[in-house]
């Protein structure tokens, strides 16, 4: 049986979509029995997917230069890219910051928060630098399939993965297609 390698990353997201992925429960075993092999994901804690990965799941919007690099890396390593969740698909809740200048936002978040005493905006060089605007994944790389939803249901994720495994093109309709 040919193995289908799957990798996932999460950028500017809340991990809710990965929770939904795990929420597939025993169907995950079913998919593994069908040939799914879980490669580099936040769940396995491996950072770099293999070069011959078949499916790359991306959760979260692209908000920093690190995210930009990561999604580009995913595109290089994976045959199909699936954007999961509203953040990856549209930009999502993270785009709220697009309506506020970044300096003002960081000041509000790290210094002026009501519960903060002597706050400081993090400046470590290890941190990614904010892009001027939060973007959806398809504004950076080509995306093959989309699963919107906040988070998408486990059913929708299962449906899409199963369709890809069976060699069909997934088309979301009805309850699977939700923006919230």
């Amino acid at each position: 049986m040919k193995k289908i390698k799957i990798a996932s990353i999460w950028c500017e997201g809340c991990s809710g979509c990965h929770m939904s992925f795990l929420d597939m429960d025993e169907r995950l075993v079913e998919l593994i029995n069908k040939g799914l092999e879980i490669n580099a994901t936040p769940i396995t804690d491996l950072k770099i997917p293999d070069d011959d990965t078949d499916i790359g799941l991306i959760e979260g919007a692209v908000a920093t230069d690190h995210h930009e690099e990561e999604v580009k890396m995913m595109r290089e390593k994976c045959k199909f890219i699936v954007a999961i969740g509203d953040c990856a698909v549209f930009g999502g809740i993270v785009t709220m910051r697009n309506y506020i200048p970044t300096d003002e936002l960081l000041k509000r978040g790290y210094i002026e928060t009501e519960s903060t005493v002597e706050g400081k905006i993090p400046t470590s060089p290890e941190l990614g630098k904010h892009l001027p605007k939060v973007k959806a994944v398809n504004e950076i790389i080509k995306v093959d399939y989309y699963i919107p939803g906040c988070p998408p249901s486990a059913d929708a994720i299962y449906y899409v993965l199963n369709e890809i495994l069976e060699g069909r093109k997934p088309i979301l309709t009805g309850d699977f297609l939700k923006y919230e």
Partner: protein, 555 residues
């Protein structure tokens, strides 16, 4: 109507001339997606989502009337591709991220997205920040969520007749504004809230229902408003499984055509008066609590030597029970006979040409009647003559304004009136005399209490009589102060007010949405009000007390 033949999706059909393609398609049960179109409003064709193909040309089906030889195709690949593109453009312009929008779940743009299977944005989203207008007491306008369908603008002028909302700038900069671009809270808005009801997205929302869930999480209850005797049809959204009304919308199928006023839509929910929370009786040491049996016993003892006063807030069922218990000792505390009887209905108001309003500010009270008149004035199909010496916001729209003392001379000057409708609340004897002289005048009386007409029908007249014991049932305690001084006074009322402690037995009754019953509206029609909420206090159902009194008496 003349019939013509056109082709729809290749099939020849006979249709009525003058109808739009969209209307014809609807009659044939063919689906065309729409967004800016809203049935009672004139079509505008601003969203373009309803386009169809007619002999190789794209036309918007909501604005295009059927014409001979038309060959309409509703969903060719080209049409579908265009609609998809339009939807993409609608979504990418401004902030249409659903998950942090109040309207998500009830949004018509979102529904279109689901219908078209839109699963990503093809274009880079365009972020421009418009200021959210939070200045109004009840309404928030967020232009970032706006799709510029202009439903609100059309509803404000065509239906509600207020002409407050308009638009400013062009293209992507277009924004919906109030008056000459002032914050809505400072504008001439009368808080009728129709714009909230027609808005397809989360651009105009009301503050109370903000983030209180979707419509499917509510129970929709059709009822009538009892804030004034116009008795508009309302649709009440009650949160499922809780004792809470999320919002009140107007009922488009009733006489009020979906329009409500501030009183019906907002005041009924927002202005919570402090309530009388339990029954209490005064003795030498002050007030002490009293139970149902105690109430019945006390009333039964005092009944012999008592008069009963009521006001117009009571429903027909309650009034007839009161009559049954207290017979001819029931009086209205307030004057309720019309100075001149009404002889026209609400429908006549909608179709009349000339209106004479005497001493009523129809923007503040009886707002829906005001809407019917104002929309005729703005569309230049009617004239408004106002007689009022006090401040009256109708002055800005009236064609002629006179002081109330100029009634005779004013009417003298206006000889060309086309059987005008006189709209009034109180008239002095002199005014009544002047008006009754004119043979071609039609009269529309606005009673100041909800069920004034019900009082008249039950033959309960205004009269003040002295008695050892006084029983008052109603909301308006104003007139009770002077007559209740030396008597034992029993008061059935929902509210706790300053003067209430002067009385002897206080019985809290259900109020507003806690009671059900019927009343007569201005047209003399019986109108029902449904029970929606349960009382949060130890209040009594007036009808239960009255029925118990009947039982006790018959023993």
């Amino acid at each position: 109507m003349e019939k013509i033949k056109i082709k729809i999706n290749g099939q020849e059909v006979e249709v009525e001339q003058g109808k739009t393609i969209l209307q014809v398609a609807k009659e044939l049960n063919l689906h065309i997606p729409t967004l800016c179109n809203f049935e009672p409003l004139l079509p505008q064709g601003s969203c373009r989502i309803c386009l169809v193909e007619d002999r190789g040309k794209f036309v918007t089906s909501c604005t295009t009337q059927v014409a001979p030889n038309m060959d309409v195709k509703l969903d060719t690949p080209d049409v579908i591709a265009s609609r998809n593109l339009i939807l993409q453009l609608l979504f990418t312009e401004r902030n249409h991220y659903c998950m942090y929008c109040e309207a998500s779940g009830d949004c018509e743009l979102q529904k279109l997205g689901y219908e078209f299977g839109l699963d990503h944005f093809e274009f880079e989203t365009y972020e421009r920040k418009f200021t959210v207008d939070n200045s109004h007491n009840y309404i928030v306008i967020d232009p970032n969520r706006c799709v510029l369908c202009r439903r609100c603008v059309r509803a404000c002028s065509q239906l509600a007749g207020h002409n407050v909302l308009g638009e400013m700038n062009r293209g992507i900069d277009t924004t919906i504004i109030a008056d000459m671009n002032v914050p809505l809270g400072e504008s001439s808005c009368t808080s009728c809230g129709l714009c909230v009801q027609v808005c397809p997205t989360g651009a105009i929302t009301d503050k109370r229902s903000y983030y209180f869930g979707k419509d499917i999480q509510t129970e929709e209850i059709y009822s009538n408003c009892d804030q004034c005797p116009v008795g508009c049809g309302v649709k009440i959204y009650k949160k499922k499984g809780s004792n809470f009304i999320v919002k009140i919308y107007g009922d488009f199928d009733k006489e009020n055509e979906g329009i409500l006023c501030k009183l019906g839509r907002y005041a009924a929910l927002f202005e919570e008066k402090s309530r009388l929370t339990s029954a209490k009786i005064k003795d030498d040491f002050g007030f002490k609590k009293i139970d149902f049996d105690g109430i019945i016993k006390t009333i039964n003892e005092k009944m012999e030597d008592s008069v009963v006063y009521v006001d117009g807030s009571l429903f027909n069922e309650e009034l007839s029970l009161i009559k049954k218990v207290f017979k001819d000792r029931v009086f209205s505390l307030y004057e309720n006979e019309p100075p001149i009887e009404s002889n026209v209905s609400i429908d006549d108001i909608k179709s009349a040409k000339d209106y004479i309003v005497i001493g009523v500010d129809l923007n503040r009270e009886y707002g829906v009647i005001g809407s019917f008149i104002k929309r005729k004035i703005f569309s230049k199909n009617g004239r408004l003559i106002l007689f009022d010496s006090n401040y009256n916001s109708l002055k800005n729209v009236a064609n002629y304004v006179f002081g109330i003392d100029e009634l005779e001379s004013g009417l003298e000057k206006l000889k060309d009136l086309d059987s005008p409708i006189i709209i009034y609340k109180n008239l002095s004897e002199k005014e009544t005399e002047i008006l009754s002289k004119n043979k071609n005048f039609r009269f529309f009386y606005l009673p100041f209490e909800t069920n004034s007409i019900g009082l008249l029908k039950e033959n309960i007249k205004h009269k003040i009589e002295k008695s050892k014991n006084i029983i008052f049932i109603g909301k308006n305690l104003q007139g009770l102060k002077d007559i209740a001084k030396e008597s034992f006074t029993i008061v059935f009322t929902p509210y706790e007010t300053d003067e209430i402690n002067k009385f002897d037995l206080l019985i809290p009754i259900n109020d507003g949405f806690e009671r059900e019953g019927s009343f007569y509206n201005v047209d003399g029609k019986v109108i029902n009000k449904a029970k929606v909420l349960d009382s949060k206090f130890e209040t009594f159902d007036l009808k239960a007390i009255l029925e118990e009194l009947i039982k006790v008496k018959s023993l």
